[in-house]
Symmetry: C7
Subunit: 96 residues, 7 copies
């Protein structure tokens, strides 16, 4: 089973900072803070304009992204925690 996000929403799985830093990089300000990185699991079709046009998103499945600490709504699917947020909540894409 999976969740297909609507419009400009995306489904993100948090990635522990250590995992990311193994690949080399991001460390949270303080170790106690929850990581702000995640992997995109699914993306919506695109943002719907006021006139009904669909604008495809820039982020795609598999992207490692950075987002704010209090961003998104938590949801658990088959025992795994995810976040549903809008593409606009994504600050940037982490590139290796």
């Amino acid at each position: 089973m999976k969740l297909r996000p609507l419009y400009d929403r995306i489904l993100v799985e948090r990635v522990e900072s250590e995992e990311v830093t193994k690949g080399g990089i991001i460390l949270p300000e303080t170790a106690k803070e929850k990581p702000q990185q995640g992997k995109i699991i699914a993306v919506g079709e695109g943002r719907r304009t006021d006139e009904g046009k669909i604008i495809p998103l820039k982020v795609k499945e598999g992207d490692l992204v950075l987002f704010g600490k209090y961003t998104g709504s938590e949801v658990k699917i088959e025992g795994i925690d995810y976040l549903v947020m809008k593409e606009d909540d994504i600050m940037g894409i982490i590139e290796p």
Copy 2:
């Protein structure tokens, strides 16, 4: 008797998490929280743009959807509780 939602509103019937997980899947963060899943019972004709054009909705009757905990207005029809919300309150469609 039934309710025909106006424009981009939809009528949703909450689905208990257990029912969904039988089919395999979503479990709320804590068992005490109200489920955030529901089945779409009826949908409006579409979102009305500022100029009066109707943009059909992406969700349709029968879709199993995910929405925020405090989303929508409760209404009881023939003894069954429903929620009336806008399509924009739907985070995504749950697919089997």
Copy 3:
């Protein structure tokens, strides 16, 4: 004497839940809550766009509608209580 609502406003007369349920259907969550059903008595010409175009409303005189508990402004005409609200406050049309 009557009230002709302006633009996208409508005049609604509350309908007691019992009357509706006689016809079969809607029951408020708790018996003490004020009913959220009503009959449309009069509708405005339509929503005015920013450019002055008039977009006709979807609801019409005689429709039985559902609306939120705190919706609209109360007004008494010839001893009968009415609510004046905007079409956008209507969640849906109750069909027999």
Copy 4:
């Protein structure tokens, strides 16, 4: 001397409920509440769109109108109290 309202503003003179009911009709919820009826004394040229176009108003001098209790700004001209409000504050036109 008179006041010429600007754009979509209108000048309204409150009409005591009794006067209206003589003609047959509207009674405030409680006798102590200030009436919400009034007669339009003057109207502006029309609502100005963002692009500077003027959209004529639907209400006109002489119309008996219904408005919310706390609507408008009070002004006294030659000893008579008036309210200046926007056409959008008018709920509807009272017709005999």
Copy 5:
């Protein structure tokens, strides 16, 4: 020296109610309230639309206008108090 208001701003000099009533007319609700009348001393070129078009104002230098009690920013030029406000703060033009 003078102030040339920008865009849809106007420079207004308060006019004491007595001066106005000599010419016949407006009296504040209570004598203690500050007058809400004023004379337009200078007007901006016009309101700038989102696309940069300039829409000329309807009010002009010399107009006697009515505005809300707490409207505008006070400024003293060569010992005289003025108010800088936007045309949209003007309720109407007082005509003799």
Copy 6:
């Protein structure tokens, strides 16, 4: 070194009221209030519309301007205090 303001931002140097009044004119309501006059030191290229068009500003370097008391962000460059504000915060241009 200098600051080149972005888009519709401008860099303003406060001008003490006395300096202005030497040239003849503006006096703050109370002597203790901070002056609201300033000289424009640098202006941005223009306001960017939603579609990316640049609309040139009306104010220019050297203009003596009037602005609200709490307008802008303070910044010190080479020991001198400046304010960075948007053109829209300017009430008008002071002309000799």
Copy 7:
């Protein structure tokens, strides 16, 4: 590893005031305040309009910029602190 900001977001590295003043110039109001200067490390592709068009940014990698004290979200990449903000948060470009 690096962060590629999305749309109109930019990645900024704070620059200590002393470093800037070596080159000649900006000093914070009080020495204790955090500097408001920074160097742009990476910029997004451009602002996305409502219709999906991308408007390139005016700031570019390497620009020394001025921004408000509480602007942006802090993020640490490979041990270095950065700020992610929107181009609109940038007041201006510091030029030597």
